[in-house]
Symmetry: C2
Subunit: 214 residues, 2 copies
DNA sequence: CAGCATGCTAAACAACGTTCAACAATCAAA
DNA sequence: TTTGATTGTTGAACGTTGTTTAGCATGCTG
C-alpha cells in the first residue's frame, strides 16, 4: 500500500506572465497567513496548516519567507499599509480643524481600526522576533512613516520640534495603552463605548496641557 | 546498559513538619520558574528545564500546577504582590501631597518597577491564557486591589465616582502604554530619561484636564 | 503483616518549527 | 534532440516542545 505517488509536478507548469508562478504562490501563502491571523489570532498560524491550505509543502514556505517569523512580518507589514492608508485619510479630512479635534479624530480612527482588525492589530505587537535578528528595513520604514504622520498632526510648525515629538510619542503610546488593555480585558470587561470615552478624555486633557505649556 | 536504576524514592522521606515536602517542592518550583522568567523572559520557561533545575520530574509540575499556564499565573501572582507592595508605600508616602504630585509619584513608581523587573513585568501582559479557561479568583482579586489603589489616589472623595474611575483607568493605561512601547522599542530606541519625561508630560497634562472638567 | 490511597517518576505521545536529500521542471549549449 | 547544469518544490525526518499516564515506592490503617 501507499504506493508513493509520483510527485504531482505542478510547479512551473503555468504558462503565462514571466515570474508569475512564484509570485502567485507567495501572494497565496501570504493571503492565507493573513486570513488565519485575522480570524484566529497569531497563535493559530502554523507552517503545516498554511501549507495545506495553500496547496504547497512546508518547505516552500521556508524557501519564500525564510521562516515563520518572515511570514508573520510580511503579514504585519500588510496590516501597517492598511492602517496607514486609513489614518492618512483621517488626517487629510481634518486638516482644517483645530489641533485637539484633529488629534481626537486620529486617535478614534486608530481605535476603530484596532477594533475592526482586532487580531491583525494585536499581531503587530504580540510578535517578538528572536534575539539577534533584525527587522527588515522596509518594515522599519513603514513604522517611521506612521509616527511622522502623528508628529505632523500635532503641531503644524508653531511648536518646538522637541516638545511636539514628545507629545506625539506620549499621546500615541497612551491611546495605544488604553486600547491594548481594553482588548485584553486586563482592567475591566471590554466595552467600546467606554474605550471611546477614555480616549477622548486623555486626548483632550493632554491637548489642554500642551496648549498650556506652549 | 542503562540498567534502569531503581526509583530514587526521595519523596515523603523528609521527616519534619506535616505537609512540608509538598509545599517546599511547590515553593522550589515556583521560585525557579520566577527566576527563569526574570532572567530570560517568559519564553524561556519550559517544563523540562524547570523539572531538571528543581530536581523533580515534569509530571510533578503538572500535579501541582495543573499545566504550564498554572505555573505562569502563580509566578505572575507573586509579581503582582511585589508590585502592589511598592505602589502602596509610594501611595502612603505622598498622601499629603496635592493630587498631580501624587499621581506623578505613583506613575513614576510604576515605571521604576517595570524597569527593575522588566521581564517579570512583561510576563504579566504577554501571557494569554487558552480560550475557555478562566483566571483563578485570587489572581483577579489582586488586580482589582491594584486598580482600587489607583482610583483612590486620584480623587480623595471630592470628585464624582464615575469620572474618577474613568480617569484612573485611562491614566493607568496611558502610563502602561508608554512603558510597554518603550520597552519593546516599538517607537524609538529605549531611553529611560525620555520615558520619564513622557510619563510626567501625560500625567501633568491629564491632571490639568481633570481639574478643568471638575 | 496485608491492603489501600497518595503522589512522584519517567517513558511515551502528539504537535510543533525546521531542515535536507531527492527529484521534477526548465533552459543553454552541443 | 540530447545532454548537463540550475532552479525550485517536495515530503519525510529530526529535534524540541507541552502533556498524559502506567508503574511503583511510600506511608498510613486495619
Amino acid at each position: 500500500m501507499t504506493a508513493r505517488a509520483p510527485v504531482p509536478a505542478m510547479h512551473k507548469t503555468s504558462a503565462g506572465d514571466p515570474a508569475s508562478f512564484r509570485e502567485r504562490l507567495r501572494d497565496g501563502i501570504l493571503g492565507i497567513a493573513v486570513r488565519i491571523i485575522a480570524e484566529e489570532g497569531l497563535g493559530a498560524l502554523q507552517a503545516r496548516r498554511v501549507a495545506v491550505e495553500a496547496g504547497c509543502s512546508v518547505g516552500t514556505i521556508y524557501n519564500i519567507f525564510g521562516d515563520l517569523d518572515g511570514l508573520i512580518i510580511a503579514g504585519n507589514s500588510e496590516t501597517l499599509v492598511l492602517m496607514e492608508a486609513e489614518l492618512r485619510t483621517a488626517y487629510q479630512e481634518t486638516e482644517a480643524s483645530p489641533m485637539p479635534d484633529r488629534l481626537t479624530a486620529l486617535a478614534i480612527k486608530y481605535m476603530t481600526f484596532a477594533f475592526a482588525h482586532r487580531e491583525r492589530w494585536s499581531a503587530i505587537f504580540e510578535h517578538r522576533l528572536p534575539p539577534g535578528k533584525m527587522l527588515p528595513v522596509d518594515y522599519d520604514q513603514r513604522r517611521a512613516e506612521l509616527l511622522a504622520l502623528l508628529s505632523h498632526a500635532i503641531g503644524g510648525n508653531t511648536m518646538p520640534s522637541e516638545l511636539r515629538q514628545r507629545a506625539a510619542r506620549s499621546l500615541f503610546a497612551s491611546v495605544h495603552g488604553i486600547i491594548t488593555l481594553a482588548l485584553a480585558n486586563k482592567l475591566s470587561p471590554f466595552d467600546p463605548k467606554s474605550v471611546d470615552a477614555d480616549i477622548r478624555f486623555i486626548v483632550t486633557a493632554a491637548s489642554h496641557g500642551l496648549a498650556q505649556s506652549r
